[in-house]
Each structure stands twice: as structure tokens, then as C-alpha cells.
């Protein structure tokens, strides 16, 4: 839910920026078009994966996708917490997008704003593809469909709620830490599923997810510590 929520939040920042700088109608038309394209992608991708691919290779595939997403979020989280990268902020993205859009001329009233629609469509589509891949990967695990869909649905409701009262709450979210935690969770699920697909039986069964998350937390905290010390040493040397 958290992973989907954070992706949707980034899409929301783009839709809000387009709506405020240009017209909400065009922004929502663009976003609705992207949502329709994403629904089509989910309808095709989910059943094809579940019905055509055997269970063991499917688990490796799911694990690989979750590892790709999880480790990337974890890498960025470690770099941000070690002050080697600027903190994550959908609010900052929203402001930057808004400034960029204000420079584009707006068509006369009554005429469609294709620039605004295209930007909203592209933003929602790109962020949504990641949501679809995460939900499809989690849903492909036996007994995973309902929790994955409930999580994604809850995330959508939460993000729409934020959107209705935005944009101040957007600025207050501790996104860097949330994304770091999501990185740990997705990486743990990734190792868990990939190893199961490769014939591993985890000690403690599903409880393995807890010690995998603890291991990723310990490894990443050690890396944050080492990177912070390294940059402090460089700063002193300069």
C-alpha cells in the first residue's frame, strides 16, 4: 500500500500542478486517459502472467521485479540519509512542475489545452506503470491477489483524500524516510519470492520476511554510516 501510495502521490503532484497552473478540467481529462490505459495494461498483464507462466519461474520473475524496484528505492534512501542526494519531495516536484507550466501559453477558453492534457497523461501513466508492476508482482503470489488489490485501493483512497485538501499536506510528508522503508519492504519481498522460486524453503516460512527486512535495515544503516563518515572525512580534507 505504501509503495503504491508514494507512486500515486508523485502522479498527484503532476496533476495538481497542471490543474493549478492551467485548467483542472484538462488536467483531469489527461489523468483519466492515463488511468484508462493503465487499467487496460493491468487487465492484460495480470491474467497473462498468472495463467501462462509456471509457478516457480513466475516467483523468480516477481522477485526480480520487486528487487529492481526495492533496491533502487533503498539505494536512493541510503544516499539521501547520508546527505549525498537531496531529500525526496513531491511538494518540490509540484512547485517545479507548476513553474515550468506557467511559461507555456494557455489556449483561449472553450478550446482544449493539449499541452496540459499531455503532461497530466504522461505523468500519471509513467508513475502508474510502476504501481501496476508492483501490484501484479504481489498479486501473482498464491493468496496475494486480494491483499495486493486492497492495499492499492487503500493507497488510491488515501492519495485522493490528500489531493482534495492539498497542497499543504504534501509538504509535510516525510517522503525520504517513507521511501527508505518501502525500499526495505520491497527488497525483502523480492529476495523472499526469488529464493522460493529457486527452490529455497525459508526457516520460519512467511516469518522470514521479518528477518529479511531486519537484515536489509542493518545492511543499509551500516552503508549510511560508512557513506556519512566518508563524506565528513572528505569535507575535513578540503
Amino acid at each position: 500500500m505504501l509503495a503504491c501510495g508514494l507512486e500515486m502521490l508523485e502522479a498527484l503532484a503532476i496533476v495538481l500542478a497542471v490543474g493549478i497552473s492551467r485548467r483542472f478540467r484538462d488536467s483531469l481529462i489527461g489523468a483519466a486517459g492515463a488511468a484508462a490505459a493503465l487499467a487496460l495494461l493491468a487487465l492484460v498483464l495480470g491474467p497473462v502472467l498468472i495463467s501462462r507462466v509456471p509457478l516457480e519461474p513466475l516467483r523468480v520473475l516477481i522477485g526480480a521485479f520487486l528487487l529492481l524496484f526495492g533496491l533502487e528505492w533503498l539505494r536512493k534512501g541510503v544516499l539521501r540519509l547520508a546527505h549525498l542526494r537531496s531529500p525526496s519531495s513531491s511538494f518540490k516536484e509540484f512547485v517545479e512542475e507548476q513553474e515550468e507550466l506557467e511559461s507555456l501559453p494557455l489556449p483561449p477558453p472553450g478550446q482544449p489545452d493539449w499541452a496540459g492534457r499531455t503532461i497530466a497523461f504522461k505523468g500519471v501513466l509513467l508513475e502508474g506503470v510502476e504501481v501496476i508492476l508492483i501490484v501484479t508482482a504481489l498479486a501473482a503470489h498464491p493468496s496475494g491477489l486480494a491483499p495486493a488489490l486492497i492495499g492499492a485501493g487503500a493507497a488510491l483512497i488515501a492519495v485522493v483524500g490528500i489531493g482534495l485538501v492539498a497542497h499543504q499536506p504534501l509538504a509535510r510528508l516525510p517522503e525520504t524516510h517513507l521511501k527508505y522503508v518501502v525500499g526495505i519492504v520491497l527488497s525483502s519481498f523480492g529476495v523472499f519470492f526469488a529464493a522460493e522460486g529457486l527452490g529455497v524453503s525459508w526457516p520460519g516460512s512467511d516469518a522470514a520476511l521479518l528477518y529479511l527486512a531486519a537484515a536489509f535495515l542493518a545492511i543499509s544503516q551500516l552503508q549510511i554510516h560508512i557513506l556519512t563518515r566518508e563524506t565528513e572525512r572528505e569535507a575535513v580534507a578540503v
Binding site: L68, L71, R75, G199, A208, A215, I219
Partner: protein
């Protein structure tokens, strides 16, 4: 169009090549080992920790790359 494709690649594979290559190497190495090894008793119980170690190495390599890029 090429910008959209570039962004899609970045979303799926990430900002660096180190992580996708590292994940592919980790999964490929254990996959090949599983094909070649007949006795999979120890793998059945401990293989997951080997994969965890390889994945941690991939993450460390990607962070080292980021640190090197910053020094340049």
C-alpha cells in the same frame, strides 16, 4: 517519444545499470548453480541467505558507484 522511453527504462530498471546488472548476476549465478548441483539439501535450507548476500553486494556496488561519481 524517446524521452518517454528513457523515463520508462529509468522507472523499471532504475537510474544506474549497476543494480539491474547486479540483480541479474545474482539470480543468474544461483540459477546456474541450481542447474549444476545435484545435491540441493543445503541449498534448500540456506540458499536464500546466499541470495541475500549477493543482493547486498549488488546494492553496495551501486552505492560505491554513486560515491565515485560524486568525487569526479
Amino acid at each position: 517519444m524517446s524521452e518517454t522511453l528513457r523515463q520508462l527504462r529509468k522507472l523499471v530498471l532504475g537510474e544506474t545499470w549497476t543494480l539491474p546488472i547486479g540483480v541479474a548476476c545474482a539470480l543468474g549465478a544461483v540459477g546456474i548453480y541450481r542447474l549444476l548441483d545435484d545435491d540441493d539439501t543445503w541449498w534448500h535450507h540456506a540458499g536464500g541467505f546466499v541470495l541475500l548476500g549477493l543482493v547486498a553486494l549488488a546494492l553496495t556496488a551501486s552505492l560505491a558507484g554513486a560515491l565515485r561519481a560524486r568525487r569526479r
